[in-house]
């Protein structure tokens, strides 16, 4: 019997005793002077980071923009990186696709089947129709944007004039469509005020939590609230990839430091 995506996520997070998701947003403009800015150097860098973290990192999340930036060559690089990970960890395609019907079905074929990613982020502006085309295959997952970590998010997602804020409407849709246990939500780590409330209305949905590293959201609250029953994973991109002096040792050390913080928060959750 094959596991649903949410069960697969749970399994690998428990096996590696971690909730870290490394955001592979590789931007040569942030490379230190000793690293080339070519596509070949990007590839070598990504593979080095993966090689040195895969024993303890359960999830990687490449943001597609950083690859599409290089057109078809960047897209091919993305394909090679997913191949390189080769099911040793899960891969979330951070593509924030948000179309409907047959169009979204094409994205699902492309990103989940052909490229072989395990999950994809989806923007729910077009409603239920934007989510449904991705849920058919229970082993593959989607993370629906609910309440994001950026400053301008509240105006639409949590506008106090709305009887039911947009992010709650979206979570209700996600709950309703989670019949194959393969839906998660994106909850910004900066949104600590509403996390308890979200926990109460999102039973069964995994959380993908960006906004801890450079944006200053709370790792501890994010971990302890989201891992009560569900699985919540913390995405860190820049604060790992460009840590310290930018050499591989500093990068790995940063990933290990985040892992330690995550494990401490998980431990405090188990013992409280």
């Amino acid at each position: 019997m094959k596991l649903s995506f949410n069960k697969r996520l749970q399994k690998i997070c428990k096996e590696k005793n971690n909730r870290l998701c490394i955001g592979l947003d590789i931007d040569p403009n942030h490379f230190p002077h000793f690293r080339n800015k070519t596509i070949e150097a990007m590839e070598a860098f990504a593979k080095d980071v993966i090689d040195r973290t895969i024993d303890f990192c359960p999830v990687y999340k490449p943001n597609f923009a950083f690859y599409e930036r290089y057109g078809s060559k960047g897209y091919a690089l993305l394909e090679r990186i997913v191949n390189f990970i080769n099911n040793r960890s899960l891969v979330i395609a951070d593509a924030k696709r948000g179309d409907i019907g047959n169009t979204s079905y094409q994205y699902s074929k492309s990103i989940l089947d052909n490229m072989g990613c395990d999950a994809i982020t989806v923007s729910p502006y077009m409603g239920k129709d934007a989510i449904e085309p991705f849920i058919e295959n229970a082993e593959k997952g989607i993370f629906v944007l609910a309440i994001t970590s950026n400053e301008g998010a509240a105006e639409l997602q949590n506008n106090s004039d709305d009887k039911l804020p947009l992010y709650k409407k979206v979570i209700n849709i996600a709950n309703e469509l989670n019949i194959n246990d393969n839906i998660g939500i994106v909850v910004g780590a900066t949104q600590t005020d509403v996390m308890e409330e979200i926990k109460n209305i999102s039973t069964g949905l995994s959380w993908l939590i960006p906004g801890v590293g450079s944006q200053g959201g709370s790792l501890e609250k994010s971990i302890t609230i989201s891992n009560q029953g569900n699985i919540g994973i913390i995405n860190i991109s820049r604060a790992i990839l460009y840590a310290g002096r930018g050499n591989l040792d500093d990068i790995i050390q940063s990933a290990k430091n985040y892992t330690t913080k995550i494990q401490k928060s998980l431990y405090s959750l188990e013992t409280c």
Copy 2:
């Protein structure tokens, strides 16, 4: 002096006396039996359609999903198609990107600068931050999803519980950010009930209107309401690309028929 995107759109629509946007959503699964389903056949087909319609069609809109479906090879095809159009008409990248900050900036580099598209569709779920990174270059445009043509759209975009419906909040943001005269909105042709209202609150924003062909929205209302002062273009995809028996003559005839309908509606607008 270089023209803003909205002015460029206006100029080419007036020159070609048309408001047709052909949606290049090329899906080999809909090809007739006499056409191969290879990427080479997709390319030849796209170029044939463009060659035979470019004299009267001011805008083409490839939906990226239909190309990304083939991974990096599909992405390369997209690049060749944009090159082939070569500024003879405008190209809207229907990519519905919806990220923020530096990430969206990467999309803007990729799709508008490198690939050379003239505009891009954007999903506004993440708020103002999702739109701002695209507006810098006045010559290039963005179309922000406001109220879409799909059945499930209303639940989030026009929910009667909201004091101000989501689509109006989005239009207000679009208005506010339209300082470079390069923003448009996506308004589904099925949303005839609210079009007059949208017209009154969207002065200066161009409209991209999907949902006429296969989804049954009103071409006449869409044209006459959106072209009072602004420019509104009608996107037709399947009802042109897979018209009649699927041969090139049937396809061109369908594009011409839509053009005639559009011109009649424009004429009735001018003379009423």
